[in-house]
Symmetry: D2
Subunit: 93 residues, 4 copies
């Protein structure tokens, strides 16, 4: 059980849609579509992935991090440090 | 013929790899993998998409925009404005 | 007392340095420096601001959010939602 | 003369406003303002800096890069490569 478990189906639906967007990008390249139109679709797929990440992160904070924080001590510190590192990777990606 | 045409195969290979990463994300969610590990993979897929976008953009500047700039006039202005809008979407996504 | 309070002096030093970078940008524009050199400095100032934000966020999670999570209930939920919104703004900025 | 020269005053006004935002951030830290409120202002300053960067970049493409592209040859290639590198730094910052 993780924070995202109750929303698994929703995440799977969104990830399948992103997979479809990436396959759509391949078709655009194969069919010699205009560069700018491809870039627009890449931006859309990137935003969709970021939105999945932000959802997973909120679920993680609300569940795993909150539980660890309630316990306190080193477990809490480690979880918060781990979440901060993930946020940092997300902001820089 | 667009800027990316000579590198079509390379872009297709990269996009297929990204499709594989997104399918891998679905498996991670299905198999109840740890949230932070999923987030790390989402960041990797996002970076890979951004890298494709930056490549397409450089090819576009070097080819379509450069040709339009050589012609000058309104065509050049329109192409540069269009490229700037795409860069803006990319920076904000 | 907030999460960042013990590191106030460090944050002030970093923010003064960023203020200096932004003043340096004004001098570059006034002195007609080359666009790309100005852009490089804008990227550096942006990264420095983002790094301050990530630091403040980690302090906030480790202190305010952790305390609220230890209390639990609606206070905890509200704090986590608020932090998630801040993370979202940061990722999108 | 660079692409941004005709808009120098506008850029200086915007950069002075960003300098004011960064000084405002220092006051917020000194006055022990709430972390999330500080983060909201950091996001605003970051977005303002990015907007300056996107403006400078568009001016640069419309002027320096367009001129170099009209000349063609190695000069054009070097300018486009240099602009692409700046775009890449911007996207990643």
């Amino acid at each position: 059980m993780y924070g995202y478990t109750p929303s698994k189906d929703d995440y799977l639906t969104r990830l399948r849609r992103i997979e479809g967007q990436v396959r759509g990008l391949q078709r655009m390249v194969e069919d010699d579509k205009y560069c700018i139109d491809i870039l627009t679709q890449v931006s859309a797929a990137t935003r969709a992935l970021q939105s999945v990440a932000l959802g997973l992160l909120e679920d993680h904070l609300a569940h795993c991090v909150a539980h660890a924080a309630a316990e306190g001590g080193e477990v809490a510190e480690a979880k918060i440090r781990e979440a901060s590192d993930a946020i940092s990777r997300l902001v820089k990606s």
